[in-house]
Amino acid sequence: METILVVLNVDENGNLSKHALETVSAGVKLSKGLSSPFTVGIVGPKPELAAELIGGCGATHFLGVSAEAFQIPRYVTDSVLIENLANKSQATLILAPGSSRWNRVLPGVAHRLGGRADLHVGELKVAEGKLSITKWYYRQRMEAVLQRAHRPWCLGLDSGADAPWQGERGQVSVEILDIPINPAEIRTQVQGAKSPSTSEQTIRPDAELLFVAGAGWTKKQADGQAHPDRAAELILRFLQLSGASLGGSKSLVDLSSEGQSVLPFMTHLNQVGQTGATPRHPKGLATCCHGEEPHVVGWRFINERRAVNLDPNCGWAHGKADVLYVADAFQVMERLNALLEQEKQSK
């Protein structure tokens, strides 16, 4: 029989994120499917309050860690934290949201515990009393279903792997762990978060729409001139009006990093594709982007895809988009922005 541990952290408001609640759902599903007990380990200044939020999830045991040293995402402390939670719960399956915090430490901790780890886990399946996971290989170009013999097995779940847990709140008893750590071992001080050096936050993970700008925005237009300033204006206005998240192709992002005057708000963080992000949004609109394979692998989790490009034979036309509009993106976006403005004013 397996023993399951779900590791969670509270956000800055003391709540559990959507991603954390998805991980709770996965824990509940595994517990039922494998007929195994599960423990929830929560790190936060007041783990009892977060535990109440998921009090009705069916966990057999709640563990909490409230010591200050463990409140900051940092390898040296987070690895000790999970190691202690795992040892305390005797877990054979350790689930955590696949966030930057837990993905940073899960493989190292798995090694420390003599187990194995998988990150970017897409789906958990239980059949005949055994757990299988789905995972992508070669940058989302092929999907594998696999099982492992080694335990403990640490799993970092991708966002969207399960529906967020919904259920009754409830008063639960939380065992607060006192985890010893030698201050001399803490050589890293976390100073906080830094936003990109642009005036506007353009990456919005919860947006309905991903808007991708390609290098075509910076190329010479019909008048023989490049219009990067106009491009920047149109794109930013569209993002403001639509609430979309901004992505970029590698070629455009590289132009920015080479110091060329292109789109001032475009950084490597916006890059989508083989060496960039693989964001999850219900819809995606690509503009001035050729839809080459290294870029399109980053669209694996974009359900509905449309593109605007002057080339009717670009990559998007070959089964990579649902609709390709063969048109000038400058003109289309200008008109689209005007329609969005009208819509805004009429509200």
């Binding site: 930057s100 299988s132 978060a193 289309v332």
Partner: protein, 269 residues
């Protein structure tokens, strides 16, 4: 830091991203169809780690860059013909599979053996670099496991920037949620940095550096030890290409206004 760093960059090779990939079962497990025939490149994020390492070494006198790579040595030799022109390094090759279907723990063990065999490597100067994920296995695990094996507990993933402060401490920017960076200051080596894209463009080819590197690369490849790497304890139920063939509707000769209205309707649907 006047004494310099020992920067060990771990980088595998992967099929050129423009190639069509097809999974097949081989006698040794899952692999790619015609894997040995596919043109290969240095793993992209690890390549960024190499460029950052070379940049840091250039700014810090007394530093040395080692490129530790596990790959079939014939393929690695081909890739080195290009990579060797990008940055000065000493190659530490390990002859073994570059497949994504191998286990990160086993890869980390082979890399650990190779790193421990580097003569004169000073742990107190050690910066362990690599990509935060490979473009093959995409596990995001190998560096962390290797760091644990080397007992390095200051680890950073998704790194876009590492600057050396006047007191020798390292300021590191890691990618976190929402397009932000987490800023950390670490007292200094040893550290593990799993690089994202960083801030440096790909360096231009420099034939002089290439020739200098190749003088040590060829003998190193000849002496490369063989590592037996598999996926012990992993059972693949299936490996499939996604069934996502879209029937693309190509809209030509439509008025801009019509297109904009259709897109808006679709966004609002």
């Amino acid at each position: 830091m006047s004494e310099g760093y020992h920067i060990v960059v771990c980088a595998g090779i992967v099929p050129d991203p423009l190639q069509t990939l097809q999974p097949v079962q081989t006698p040794t497990g899952w692999g790619l169809k015609n894997e040995m025939m596919l043109p290969a490149v240095l793993d992209p994020w690890a390549a960024h780690a190499l460029y950052e390492a070379a940049h840091l070494a250039k700014k810090t006198p007394g530093s040395k860059v080692y490129l530790v790579s596990l790959a079939p040595k014939a393929k690695l030799q081909q890739v080195m013909m290009t990579v060797a022109q990008k940055a000065a390094f000493e190659l530490v090759p390990v002859d073994g599979p570059a497949s994504g279907f191998t286990e990160a723990f086993e890869v980390a063990s082979a890399l650990y053996e190779a790193i421990m065999g580097i003569a004169g490597l000073d742990r107190n100067k050690l910066l362990l670099f690599g990509g935060w994920e490979s473009a093959s296995r995409g596990a995001g695990s190998t560096l962390q496991i290797l760091g644990e094996m080397l007992q390095i507990h200051d680890q950073f993933q998704g790194v876009d920037e590492c600057t050396v402060n006047p007191d020798g401490s390292l300021q590191i920017l890691e990618r976190v949620e929402g397009g932000n960076h987490q800023v950390s200051v670490c007292k200094g080596p040893p550290v593990v940095l799993g690089w994202a894209t960083g801030n440096l463009p790909e360096p231009p080819n420099n034939p002089q550096i290439g020739m200098s590197n190749m003088r040590t690369i060829m003998p190193a490849l000849q002496k490369a030890k063989t590592a037996k790497i598999g996926a012990d304890g992993v059972f693949f139920g299936s490996v499939e290409l996604p069934k996502q063939l879209r029937q693309t509707r190509v809209v030509k000769d439509a008025q801009v206004d019509e297109i904009a209205r259709e897109i808006l309707e679709w966004i609002r649907k």
